[in-house]
C-alpha cells in the first residue's frame, strides 16, 4: 500500500510566552506560595522543562478557599445573574481571541496533537463558557425550583487529559450558578489553567471568584477535605474518586465524580464498516487514548470480524505519530513517563495473558514519551486488558454472535461511562441504547461532546452529570418546590 510523504508542518510556538516560574492564582493575583514546594512541568514530546510551578501546601489552599469564600459572600452571591453571565461571556470571547495561543500551549504541555487542541479542545472550551453564560440569569427556569441557590465555594480537581476543557466543564457551570471556585489543575498540565487565570484578569472578573492552586494529589486532597468547601467536583481515576467519596462521608459537602471507563464499541455485521473503522480509530486513538470514555473494548460481530480487522489495520498504517505541534500529526505524545510505564505494563500483561498484539510499523521520536497505536486480538473478558482502564492508545478486540451477547459483554464491567453502537438498523440502535448501562451512548458515531449534552457515568464511573441543564443542577440546591 502506498504511503504519502508529508513535509513537516509545525505550528509556530512563538505565539506562546511561557514564564520560567509561576505562582498560585489567589484572590485575583499571582502570589508566591506560603508553604508550597516547586515542581517542574515538562513537554512530554521532548522532555524539555517548560516552567517551574508551585505545589500548593495546606496554608496556600486555605488562603485560596478563604479568598473564594470572601468573594462568594461579598460579591458573587450578591451580583445579579445578568452580570455574572456578562463576565462569563467576556471570558468566552477572550478564549476565542486567544484560541491559537491556548491551543499551542495545550499541545506543548499535554502532548496532544495541535489538530485536536485547535479544532476540538479550545472551541469546546469557548462553547462551554458561552452556554453557561446564558444560564446565569435564567436559573429559575432550569427546573430546580423558583429560587435555586448556589452551594457556595466549589473545590474542583481536574485531570491532565483535557486540561483546559475540564477546567471549562468545572468553572463555567459553577460560576453561572453563583458559586466561587478553587480549582486544582493536574500536576503535569498546569500551564493552560494559569493562562486562564490571566484571562480572568483581562475580563476583570472580581478577585477571588476563580482561584487556581497548582500541585499534585496531596494538594487536591487538601482542597477536597478543606472544611469550608461546600461542593466537590472531581474528574479522574475511579480509585481517587472512591477516596474522595470516603473522605467527604458524614459532611454536608455535595459531590460530583466523573471517573474511569472501559467502554464497549460494538460493531454489528450490517454496520457501514468504513465508517465504523473511522469511529473505532476516533474512539481509541483520539487524544492518545487518554480519554475516560474511550472505546477501549471493540466488540465485533463474529461474521464481520476478519473483514473489519483487515480494514482497521489498513487504516492504522496511515496514522502519523509524532510532533504534537505538527498539523499532520494524528497521535501525539503520552502525557508522562508514569503513564507511559502503565500503558507498557498493561500491554505486556496483555501479551503474557495470551492476547495477540499488533502495531503498525511506525517510527517513534528518540526523546519524549511515545507509544504506538496498538491492537490486541483474541482477548477474553477475563484478560486484564479487557477489564482495566489502560488510558492509552491500546484497543482490545472481542467478538460476539448475538445482540444479547454483545449487551452482556458490554455491561460486564464495574464501569458505565460510555458505549458505541454501529448498525444500520434503527430499532436495534434504540434497543441497544436502552440495554447498555452507560451514561453516554454514541450510535454510528463516537467521542462527540457538546456543552448542551449531559455527560457522566453509571456505576463506578461516578455520579452527577456535566453539560447541559443537568450539569447546571450539580451546582444548585433546589429550593424544595422543584
Amino acid at each position: 500500500m502506498a504511503t504519502f510523504e508529508y513535509a513537516p508542518a509545525p505550528e509556530s510556538r512563538a505565539i506562546v510566552d511561557i514564564a520560567s516560574s509561576y505562582g498560585l492564582f489567589v484572590d485575583g493575583e499571582f502570589i508566591d506560595p506560603a508553604d508550597g514546594t516547586p515542581f517542574k512541568t515538562v513537554n512530554p514530546a521532548t522532555e524539555e522543562v517548560l516552567a517551574e510551578v508551585s505545589a500548593a501546601g495546606p496554608e496556600d489552599v486555605d488562603r485560596a478557599v478563604r479568598a473564594a469564600r470572601r468573594a462568594y459572600t461579598r460579591v458573587w452571591s450578591k451580583m445579579s445573574g445578568r452580570d455574572r453571565g456578562k463576565y462569563l461571556f467576556r471570558i468566552a470571547r477572550i478564549i476565542q481571541e486567544r484560541s491559537r495561543e491556548l491551543a499551542v500551549l495545550e499541545s506543548i504541555d499535554n502532548g496532544k496533537p495541535i489538530r485536536e487542541s485547535r479544532d476540538v479542545d479550545v472551541p469546546l472550551v469557548a462553547a462551554h463558557f458561552f452556554y453557561y453564560a446564558g444560564w446565569a440569569d435564567k436559573l429559575r427556569y432550569a427546573g430546580f425550583g423558583s429560587d435555586p441557590k448556589p452551594h457556595g465555594v466549589a473545590g474542583q480537581v481536574i485531570p491532565w487529559n483535557f486540561p483546559l476543557l475540564m477546567l471549562a466543564w468545572k468553572i463555567a457551570p459553577a460560576l453561572a450558578a453563583g458559586n466561587t471556585v478553587v480549582l486544582k489543575p493536574a500536576e503535569t498540565t498546569p500551564l493552560t489553567a494559569l493562562l486562564f487565570a490571566q484571562i480572568c484578569q483581562q475580563a476583570d472578573l472580581p478577585r477571588g471568584v476563580v482561584n487556581i492552586v497548582t500541585g499534585a494529589g496531596e494538594t487536591g486532597r487538601t482542597l477536597v477535605e478543606h472544611p469550608d468547601v461546600d461542593k466537590v467536583a472531581f474528574t479522574g481515576s475511579t480509585e481517587v474518586g472512591k477516596q474522595i467519596a470516603r473522605s467527604i462521608a458524614g459532611t454536608p459537602k455535595k459531590v460530583t465524580l466523573e471517573l474511569g471507563g472501559k467502554a464497549a464499541n460494538i460493531v454489528f455485521d450490517d454496520a457501514p464498516l468504513d465508517q465504523a473503522v473511522e469511529g473505532i480509530v476516533n474512539g481509541i486513538f483520539f487524544n492518545q487514548g487518554h480519554v475516560c470514555c474511550a472505546g477501549s473494548r471493540l466488540l465485533v460481530q463474529e461474521s464481520v470480524a476478519d473483514d473489519l480487522m483487515a480494514r482497521l489495520k489498513r487504516r492504522l498504517r496511515t496514522l502519523r505519530v509524532g510532533d504534537p505541534l505538527d498539523k499532520n500529526t494524528d497521535i501525539g505524545a503520552i502525557n508522562s513517563a508514569e503513564q507511559l510505564a502503565r500503558i507498557r505494563e498493561l500491554s505486556e500483561i496483555g501479551e503474557a495473558e495470551g492476547a495477540e498484539r499488533w502495531s503498525p510499523p511506525c517510527e517513534l521520536p528518540d526523546r519524549g514519551y511515545w507509544f504506538p497505536p496498538t491492537v490486541f486480538t483474541g482477548v477474553s473478558q477475563a484478560h486484564r486488558i479487557a477489564r482495566e482502564e489502560i488510558f492509552g492508545p491500546v484497543l482490545s478486540v472481542l467478538t460476539f454472535r448475538t445482540p444479547a451477547e454483545a449487551v452482556e459483554k458490554a455491561n460486564n464491567t464495574p464501569y458505565g461511562l460510555s458505549a458505541g453502537v454501529w448498525t444500520d438498523k434503527g430499532s436495534r440502535i434504540l434497543w441497544m441504547a436502552q440495554q447498555l448501562r452507560a451514561g453516554v451512548v454514541w450510535a454510528n458515531t463516537f467521542n462527540r461532546f457538546d456543552p448542551t449534552s449531559p455527560f457522566g457515568g453509571y456505576k463506578e464511573s461516578g455520579y452527577g452529570r456535566e453539560g447541559g441543564r443537568h450539569g447546571l443542577g450539580a451546582y444548585l440546591s433546589s429550593d424544595g418546590a422543584a
Binding site: G241, D450, R469, G480, A482
Partner: protein
C-alpha cells in the same frame, strides 16, 4: 357472651414475594408506644439481607423494563389495596407511634395519598428530567432518565408508614427495585404493607422488606457490591453510624442519600429530590443525514 379470642398474626419478612421467617431463626419483641407487647417480629440477618438483594436484582430487569404506564398502574393498585386495609394500618400506626385514632388516620390517609402522588409520576418524570440537546452539529442528541438499579432503604424510625412510603415510593416508581429495612421499633405497618404488596400486582422482588436491628443489617447493605444506592434516613441522628455507612457505600460508589439533621415532616409535599436521587441520565447521540 364470652369475648372471642383473637387470632394473632405472625409477622414475617417479605423477600422475593414470599413471607419467610429470618433464616437465623431470630425474632425480637415489638411493643406499643407504652411498652405493651404487640408481636414478635423477625430479626433479619446478613443472609436475609443478601437474599433480599438477590431477589431485588432478579426483579430489576422486568420492573425497569416495564412501560412507565404499567408501573404507574401497578403502583396505583397498591394504593387501592392499602385503602382496603386502612383500619388495620390505623391500628398499627396508632399503637406503634402512640397516636390518637384521628391522628393515626391522618397519617395512614397521607401514606395512601402519597402512593397515588408518586404513582402518577411514573410516566411523567422522564418528560420533566429528560431533554433533547441542541448540539452544534448534525446529530440528534437526547437524554433520558433511567433507574440506577437496586436501592437499599433504611426507613425512617419515627414515621412507620407515612415515612416509609415517602422514601420507598420514589425508589420504585422510576423502575428501581428496593430492599427496605423497616423502622426498628415500629416495624408492623411495614409488614402489613408487604401483605398489601403481595396481593396487588407488584412483581415479586421489586420491594423486599426486612425487620430487625437497623445498625446490624445496614452495613451489609451499604457495603454490598450489587446495591447501587442507599438511603440513610433511617439512621437520622446517629452521625457516626451514617458516616461509616457512607464510607462503606463508597466501595462501589453507591449513590447515597444522606440523613437530614432531624426526621423530616413527612406530611409536606415531597418535591423531586428523592425521586431524582435514584435516576441516572443517559445521553444518546446519532448522526442526522440522508
Amino acid at each position: 357472651m364470652t369475648e372471642r379470642l383473637e387470632v394473632r398474626k405472625t409477622y414475617k419478612l417479605y423477600i422475593g414475594g414470599a413471607f419467610p421467617r429470618s433464616e437465623s431463626g431470630r425474632s425480637y419483641e415489638v411493643t406499643d408506644a407504652r411498652g405493651r407487647f404487640l408481636a414478635n417480629a423477625a430479626k433479619a440477618s446478613r443472609k436475609d439481607a443478601r437474599d433480599a438483594v438477590v431477589a431485588a436484582r432478579k426483579a430489576y430487569g422486568g420492573w425497569s423494563g416495564a412501560t412507565a404506564y404499567n408501573r404507574g398502574q401497578v403502583l396505583y393498585r397498591v394504593a387501592e389495596v392499602m385503602e382496603g386495609r386502612r383500619s388495620q394500618f390505623v391500628d398499627e400506626v396508632a399503637a406503634g407511634e402512640g397516636l390518637t385514632r384521628p391522628r393515626a388516620e391522618k397519617a395512614v390517609d397521607g401514606a395512601i395519598d402519597r402512593w397515588v402522588w408518586y404513582a402518577g409520576w411514573a410516566d411523567k418524570i422522564a418528560q420533566v428530567t429528560g431533554s433533547t440537546n441542541p448540539v452544534a452539529g448534525p446529530y440528534f442528541d437526547f437524554s433520558v432518565p433511567e433507574p440506577t438499579g437496586v436501592v437499599a432503604v433504611l426507613a425512617p424510625q419515627s414515621s412507620s408508614l407515612l415515612g416509609l412510603i415517602s422514601v420507598l415510593a420514589p425508589v420504585v416508581v422510576s423502575g428501581n427495585t428496593a430492599v427496605v429495612v423497616a423502622s426498628e421499633e415500629r416495624p408492623l405497618p411495614a409488614i402489613t404493607l408487604g401483605e398489601a404488596l403481595a396481593t396487588s400486582d407488584v412483581p415479586d422482588g421489586v420491594i423486599n422488606l426486612l425487620t430487625g436491628r437497623t445498625a446490624e443489617i445496614a452495613p451489609w447493605l451499604a457495603s454490598h457490591m450489587d446495591v447501587n444506592a442507599v438511603d440513610l434516613v433511617g439512621v437520622t441522628g446517629d452521625d457516626e453510624v451514617a458516616r461509616t455507612l457512607e464510607v462503606d457505600a463508597a466501595e462501589n460508589l453507591k449513590r447515597v442519600v444522606r440523613p437530614p439533621a432531624a426526621e423530616p415532616d413527612w406530611t409536606a409535599e415531597p418535591g423531586l429530590d428523592r425521586l431524582t436521587a435514584y435516576l441516572e441520565t443517559k445521553t444518546v447521540w446519532h448522526p442526522v443525514g440522508i
